[in-house]
């Protein structure tokens, strides 16, 4: 088990390096000159030239790359050319917000999607299956920004149940930062009011973000369950008089979620990057809006760092997925 995880981790390093090369080349091919943007609105050409030298932007690209990789190896992601803040700190502040949102969205997708997928499979080619399939496809097909605005109109404006935007009501003091996860920090500080408030702020963006994943999870759970239901052991278990609900929700489900778990891993990477629109509409202080901002201003350090980060999270989640697979299906673990 441990060896398995270590081997997977070792495989990740060259992949990340490859990712870094690709991103680096790509970003450096972009014609916008960070020095111009950095210098600001009222800058003179001389000021711009000075900045170019100061940040080594006049050096050959391979040299810039070598310097960069050297620093990344020491876990130094550099400093944003614009905010002059260490990128590491910005990311450490923002990543938890995005992860919190992503986890909640995934949780909604999974807790709704898996049961719906099973129900759909049990009613294969009957009306509940049709209805569920159409609705779950609608989940993917609905543009997130449209859903987001509609949810805002309904829940924040019309009904007034949930806050419109942000991660915490502006009059509430923030809890001390321990983990960076707002809800967790609220709990650590024993701030129940802030905790409830933070959860309420999470609701709409998480719901919006969950829709795309929901459909995928319904789809794969349905296929997996259909597949499992064909297996001999299901007939055997029925013949042996297993209780129906336990048969479906325990004995069948555990066999049919392997494909779903793989999808969760793939979704996770997509959700982090795909949260951009949702974060923008709900003013969520996460990594998505940070990325867009970096791209719009041409902040190379940040673009590189974010790509590296998303790549790492993606790889980590996929290793985790493999581990979960192993736990779900003991046969895989033995094959290694």
């Amino acid at each position: 088990m441990l060896r398995f995880v270590l081997r997977r981790c070792a495989l990740v390093v060259p992949s990340l390096l490859g990712l870094l090369v690709v991103t680096f080349l790509l970003i450096h091919a972009v014609p916008s000159d960070p020095a111009v943007a950095m210098a600001g609105d009222a800058a003179t050409p001389e000021q711009i030239e000075r900045l170019r030298q100061q940040y080594g932007l006049d050096r050959p690209i391979w040299e810039q790359f070598a310097v960069y990789v050297g620093r990344v190896a020491q876990l130094d992601l550099g400093e944003s050319a614009f905010s002059h803040r260490p990128v590491m700190i910005d990311i450490a502040q923002r990543l938890p917000a995005t992860l919190e949102l992503t986890f909640c969205a995934l949780a909604i997708s999974v807790f709704l999607g898996v049961p719906l997928g099973v129900v759909s499979a049990l009613n294969h080619n009957a009306w509940p299956d049709y209805v569920l399939r159409i609705f779950s496809v609608m989940g993917i097909a609905l543009a997130a920004f449209w859903v987001a605005i509609m949810l805002q109109l309904l829940f924040s404006m019309q009904l007034g149940w949930l806050p419109l935007r942000g991660d915490l009501t502006s009059t509430l003091p923030r809890p001390d930062r321990v983990t960076g996860f707002l809800t967790v920090d609220c709990l650590i500080a024993g701030r129940w009011d802030a905790f409830a408030d933070a959860l309420r702020h999470l609701a709409l963006p998480a719901l919006t973000l969950s829709l795309g994943g929901l459909a995928t999870i319904v789809r794969f759970t349905r296929a997996g369950t259909l597949d499992t239901l064909q297996q001999d052991f299901v007939f055997y278990e029925r013949a042996m008089g297993y209780r129906w609900l336990r048969l479906v929700w325990i004995f069948v489900l555990r066999n049919s979620v392997t494909a779903t778990v793989t999808q969760i891993g793939l979704l996770f990477g997509g959700l982090i990057a795909g949260g951009v629109v949702v974060e923008a509409i709900f003013d969520w202080p996460g990594i998505g809006s940070y990325t867009v901002q970096a791209i719009l201003t041409g902040d190379r350090q940040v673009m590189l760092a974010v790509t590296l980060l998303v790549g790492t999270v993606y790889a980590a989640v996929n290793i985790l997925v493999d581990v979960v697979h192993g736990l779900l299906d003991p046969r895989l673990m033995e094959r290694g």
Partner: protein, 538 residues
């Protein structure tokens, strides 16, 4: 006997129904909404600058932030803007315009309680010059760090290299910072750049709360009880400012309408005005600001190197249609290359009007002179800016009528400014605003049409007229407004005759405000973001 196969079905439907009931029950979990804001907290929708250091960043959001957290020697106040003493009581200038002396008020204090003296002002200016970032632009060429001195704890002296009239106009752009706080947080002689990017070291009416800051997301400030102006003129000031800028225009509107935002930023689209004014809770404040909207033409690229061609384009834009219908009338037609109400405008000069007949005539002339009017022309716009995109589309459909093929190309600010650094990469045409960094013709015509600024985006028409250069340079070196005004008038007449760009309007700033906001004072510099005058009802 068919019952057996169906037993399953009944169960499954049961499961489904149970799910539906559970979903239906969710609203029952409703929790009463927390009150949006109390009467001591102002939730501001003003945008946040890239970082908090007023010596590194100088743009519109920074202006509105630093007016609250920092103080300046002089400050623009009122509408129309007047430059008034602030930390300084008064100033003197020598006849040659080279020696400037500012006298500070006594008893000034920073947020940490330490006294603010002339030495601190000197440090602040030297820091600006050493960092040489955006706000240094106006000073780098005319001021050496060693020529800023403090002969007395209350006197700051500047000795300029050359006479430069806009020097005084740019004084309010420099914030005075607390060297003791900065030096304590300096790393490798970086002038505390990293520290001040996310913290405060000022003396302003409000104090930055570093724990309440996340770049471009949120910022909290709390009141500075011991601000040098005191609070007698505003007995019930805002205790806390919560900057919560919105990213989406729809969210901004909704937040204002549900009371969770006390003011929007100042870029409210005209089409949202009616919706806000119809609400019970908010209204739209209209203010004329000095911010001109211009379509640039690259005068080095054919056909724009041809005067008749440029005039043709200038006559083909539907100025009033754009202003009346698309901007809902919330802008004033400004045919001049700078704000109409600024001094130095030649009121007798006639601008270009929307007249496709004239445009056609000029087009014929241009073609006769060999200008390639039929080639596809590219107009670059900032994709994220709805207004410029609409303007471009309007232009496109009008030009199509006279047989000119205009292509609208979406782009982003950093790409555009990079491209504008060289004449051959500068697009055929592009669109931008020119905001007020300091209230002086230099901010517009001076930097836009003096050929010495070629290579900066502001001068991206690559217009070159030696007579204009001479006039602008002469005006720049004089101190007295009476002497400078005629020079600018003359220069502008010549520029307008050459039609290097298409000047469209001067902006009217639209800002949504909650009705509980009272006591707002507007000034075009800072866009009414100064909070110390504001009181919240209720």
């Amino acid at each position: 006997m068919s019952g057996r196969g169906r037993v399953l079905r009944r169960r499954e439907i049961g499961t489904l129904a149970a799910g539906a009931v559970a979903v239906g029950a969710l609203p029952a979990l409703r929790i009463p909404s927390a009150s949006a804001a109390d009467a001591s907290t102002f939730v501001s929708g003003f945008g946040l600058p890239l970082n908090l250091d007023p010596h590194q960043v100088y743009d519109v959001p920074m202006q509105s932030m630093m007016l609250n957290a920092y103080d300046n020697l002089y400050r623009y106040q009122g509408d129309p803007p007047k430059i008034v003493p602030w930390l300084a009581e008064s100033h003197t200038v020598s006849d040659d315009g080279l020696d400037w002396e500012f006298k500070l008020r006594p008893g000034l204090k920073f947020h940490d309680g330490s006294p603010l003296t002339a030495e601190d002002v000197v440090y602040s200016f030297r820091r600006v010059l050493a960092l040489a970032l955006a706000p240094a632009g106006a000073f780098l060429k005319i001021l050496k760090p060693e020529n800023v001195t403090a002969p007395d704890p209350l006197v700051v002296r500047f000795k300029l290299e050359t006479s430069y009239a806009p020097f005084f106009a740019a004084i309010p752009s420099i914030s005075i910072v607390n060297p003791r706080v900065i030096k304590a947080n300096e790393k490798d002689g970086d002038w505390g750049k990293t520290f001040l990017a996310s913290d405060g070291a000022g003396s302003g009416a409000y104090r930055i709360v570093p724990a309440g800051y996340r770049p471009l997301e949120y910022l909290d400030m709390e009141i500075n009880e011991s601000h040098f102006l005191g609070w007698k003129d505003n007995p019930k000031p805002v205790r806390k400012i919560a900057y919560r800028p919105t990213k989406e225009s729809s969210t901004r509107l909704l937040a204002l309408l549900n009371g969770s935002l006390d003011c929007t930023d100042t870029n409210l689209p005209a089409d949202q005005v009616a919706q806000i004014n119809e609400s019970k809770i908010a209204y739209v404040q209209k203010d004329v600001v000095m911010r001109t909207f211009v379509i640039r033409m690259n005068n080095t690229k054919p056909p724009f190197d041809n005067l008749n061609a440029r005039r043709c384009f200038a006559h083909a834009f539907n100025y009033m249609g754009f202003i009346t219908d698309i901007l809902g009338g919330y802008a004033t037609r400004d045919p001049y290359p700078m704000p109409e109400d600024l001094w130095g405008i030649p009121k007798d000069a006639k601008g270009y009007d929307y007249d496709l007949k004239k445009a056609k005539e000029y087009m014929a002339k241009a073609i006769a002179e060999g200008a390639p009017m039929k080639r596809p022309i590219e107009l670059h716009v900032q994709s994220e800016n709805e207004q410029s995109v609409q303007g471009a589309q309007l232009f496109q459909s009008d030009l199509a009528q006279i047989g000119i093929n205009l292509k609208v190309v979406g782009s982003i600010w950093s790409t555009l400014t990079t491209a504008a650094a060289k004449p051959d990469t500068t697009p055929d045409m592009w669109v931008h605003w020119v905001s007020t960094y300091f209230v002086d013709p230099e901010n517009w015509v001076g930097q836009m049409y003096d050929s010495q600024f070629h290579g900066t985006w502001k001068a991206s028409a690559y217009y070159k007229n030696p007579e204009v250069d001479t006039l602008l340079r002469k005006a720049r070196a004089l101190v007295k407004q009476e002497e400078r005004a005629p020079l600018y008038q003359e220069a502008i007449r010549k520029i307008m005759a050459d039609s290097p760009d298409i000047w469209i309007y001067n902006s009217m700033q639209l800002q949504g405000l909650n009705k509980r906001v009272k006591g707002r004072r507007f000034c075009t510099v800072g866009q009414g973001a100064e909070m110390r005058w504001i009181t919240l009802d209720g």
